[in-house]
């Protein structure tokens, strides 16, 4: 690094433009980034060690706190891992409720990321509207699970409690309100705004080969026209009973990724409506005996589901005892946050670094664990 011509900037932990508690130390020359390094590890709490110290049911309280933007995804993968090793059959109604919760979580995650991206380029009005819309979804979660963000609702073997019918009607009303009032506002304010398009078009481009080589999935891959979605490829919960398309983009830049986030939300609304119409009756929790004595035979499994940022997987090993032997968390933005920064950030302008970081959905707690 030639000290005279290059300046080092700490896009570090305490910086308004960085997504969460995470840092990028980059050098730039003139106004183009020349080299960058990820400065991760600020949120490391050693989840995997803590999980080995607790019995199976206690971990359900610990697991949603891994990634704060998508707590339900963690609960679902943990439950699926437990059921995969123990070959436990989950009642059909629980599958439906799980899918409803996951789709609601996907909508609130996408609105939050659209708001974050808009704030990155200075469009604070859309951030305010987005967070307001997200709050209505948190109210619905509060009604179903009793908590706004960390729900601890999806448990191994099913779901903690049933959803009453009027809650389902409330969800349907909310879906109509989202589709007819909230999203058209965002559409006019952000997606038909020439400045926003100019700020995002052609920025932070990740091509199809780079994404696959790096192991990046979700909107980063789908922005290049590749309709890979785990809900279609490896259907879990109740996704085999619903039809929906997988939105894709063409040239893999920030503008396509944000449009995919918007189309994803519209698809989720369609899925929720189908799920609520076809929800069967029946128990919501498989009979596994006393919660404190959950035990599954020796074995291991790698389970993964489609979070809003891509493939989110756990590798779980059990040695037949009361506690999990080993749980390895694979966050959706791990390749991008650590490797992608060093490979693909150099070459962007300083003004586009926040656009780069936020549009690729880097969520630091996933790889800090």
């Amino acid at each position: 690094m030639d000290k005279n011509t290059q300046t080092e900037i700490f896009f570090g932990p305490n910086h308004p433009g960085v997504p969460g508690n995470y840092g990028i130390n980059y050098e730039f020359e003139g106004d183009t980034v020349t080299s960058a390094r990820a400065n991760a590890g600020h949120l490391h709490r050693g989840f995997e060690k803590l999980m080995e110290e607790r019995i199976w049911i206690k971990n359900t309280a610990l697991v949603p706190r891994i990634c704060v933007e998508e707590p339900d995804i963690n609960e679902m993968v943990y439950a699926m891992g437990f059921e995969a090793i123990g070959e436990i059959e989950v009642p059909r109604r629980a599958d439906y409720i799980r899918s409803i919760i996951l789709e609601l979580a996907r909508i609130q995650g996408h609105i939050f990321s659209i708001g974050g991206n808009a704030a990155g380029i200075g469009q604070y009005t859309v951030m305010h509207w987005g967070t307001l819309t997200r709050d209505y979804l948190l109210d619905i979660f509060e009604e179903i699970t009793g908590a706004r963000v960390y729900h601890i609702y999806i448990r191994p073997g099913g779901v903690r409690q049933d959803i009453e019918d009027e809650t389902l009607d409330k969800i349907l009303d909310l879906m109509d309100e989202l589709e007819n009032e909230r999203f058209p506002d965002l559409q006019k304010a952000l997606f038909e705004n020439p400045n926003a398009q100019k700020r995002w078009q052609g920025k932070a481009v990740i091509t199809k080969e780079e994404a696959i080589e790096m192991g990046a999935t979700g909107p980063v891959l789908r922005a290049n026209g590749v309709p890979h979605d785990l809900r279609k490829m490896m259907p879990y919960a109740a996704y085999d009973d619903v039809e929906f398309e997988v939105p894709t983009g063409e040239n893999g830049d920030a503008w396509d990724r944000i449009k995919i986030a918007r189309d994803d939300m519209l698809q989720s609304i369609k899925i929720i409506r189908q799920l609520i119409n076809k929800i069967p009756d029946g128990p919501v929790q498989a009979d596994l005996g006393n919660g404190l004595k959950y035990k599954i035979p020796k074995g291991d499994a790698y389970v993964k589901i489609e979070s809003k940022r891509g493939e989110y997987g756990y590798y779980m090993v059990s040695d037949g005892s009361l506690k999990p032997y080993r749980v390895h968390v694979r966050g959706a933005s791990t390749p991008l946050g650590l490797y992608g920064v060093r490979e693909f950030l150099p070459g962007t302008r300083i003004a586009d670094v926040p656009v780069w970081a936020k549009s690729l959905g880097i969520c630091p707690p996933e790889f800090d664990r």
Binding site: G17, Q123, W129, N193, R199
Partner: protein
């Protein structure tokens, strides 16, 4: 001697009045933006409390140039107040005040630039280089407009230009040359650094740019400088295009209208990148300004 005391008293009165008015306008702007974002927003007198708190806080300095920059910025802006007729208050209707005001504002920005870069933070230097580039961007169309106005009314003093629009509101420049007034409005937004053109203090890109190291009383002085700059630029716009006013109340009301429009205009646009900002200023506004000037000259 009496005249000197009267002048000094008048001078201090105008400075305090425009600081208060500027801060009130900033409070109103925050309220409007809050309402657009569907929330209450801070009370209208919030900027007064901010300034009072900031002057009460401790502060750090990075040496002589850091202080000198802040003082020169505020001093330059207060000096500019002298030459702008606020309604009927006019201390010096001297010649050439139009061009003088542009250059006096340059003192303020040079002072702030020197002070903030003196803090040794590269993010401040990047912010200042963007501010200077943007200044070149919006200053060119503005000076072409001034050139046309001075040539049209054959006087280069703001007072003279204001007098030239006396009589019915029909011969305000807003109606006489609507295109020029529109270009001046866009330039006004650029000059005040409001939303689409605030890439120099972009918090998410360069951690709030030049003011990165200014805490306590330095931030207070920058707020006061910003408030007076708002009043100066609005007063210039009202004098040149809305025909000034007989008394201060009508003048403040006109300034408020222009200010509210500028705030609303900006609150829905994300921020330009700096080279797109310059290109924007040099494409449409400069083109229209030159066409208008040619129309006036021939």
């Amino acid at each position: 001697m009496i005249d000197i005391i009267y002048r000094i008293g008048h001078f201090v009165l105008i400075t305090v009045f425009s600081m208060a008015l500027g801060l009130l306008f900033m409070g109103i702007a925050r309220k409007i933006v809050a309402r657009i974002q569907k929330r209450y927003g801070p009370p209208v007198y919030q900027p007064y409390l901010d300034v009072l708190k900031l002057f009460g806080k401790d502060a750090i300095t990075h040496g002589f140039i850091f202080d000198f920059g802040a003082i020169m910025a505020l001093g330059g802006v207060i000096a500019t107040l002298f030459f702008i007729p606020l309604g009927s208050w006019q201390l010096y209707s001297m010649e050439g005040t139009v061009i003088l005001v542009i250059y006096l504002l340059a003192i303020a920005s040079l002072g702030m630039a020197m002070g903030t870069v003196g803090s040794g933070n590269p993010q401040a230097s990047v912010g200042i280089s963007r501010a200077l580039m943007q200044m070149l961007g919006y200053e060119l169309p503005y000076l072409v407009i001034l050139f046309a106005l001075i040539y049209r009314y054959q006087t280069s003093s703001v007072w003279g230009l204001m007098q030239a629009q006396a009589g019915s509101f029909l011969n305000w420049n807003l109606f006489a040359y609507p295109l020029m007034a529109a270009v001046a409005f866009v330039v006004l937004i650029g000059m005040m650094g409001k939303k689409p053109f605030d890439s120099m203090i972009a918090p998410s890109e360069i951690g709030s740019g030049p003011v990165v190291e200014s805490g306590g009383k330095y931030l207070g002085m920058l707020l006061l400088q910003k408030s007076i700059t708002i009043i100066i630029e609005l007063a210039l716009y009202v004098n040149l295009f809305l025909g000034g006013a007989e008394n201060i109340l009508i003048f403040t009301f006109k300034m408020l209208i222009v200010w509210v429009l500028a705030t609303m205009f900006g609150s829905l646009f994300p921020r330009f990148r700096i080279e797109d900002g310059i290109k924007f200023f040099w494409k449409w506004p400069l083109g229209i300004a030159i066409l208008q000037a040619i129309y006036i000259i021939t």
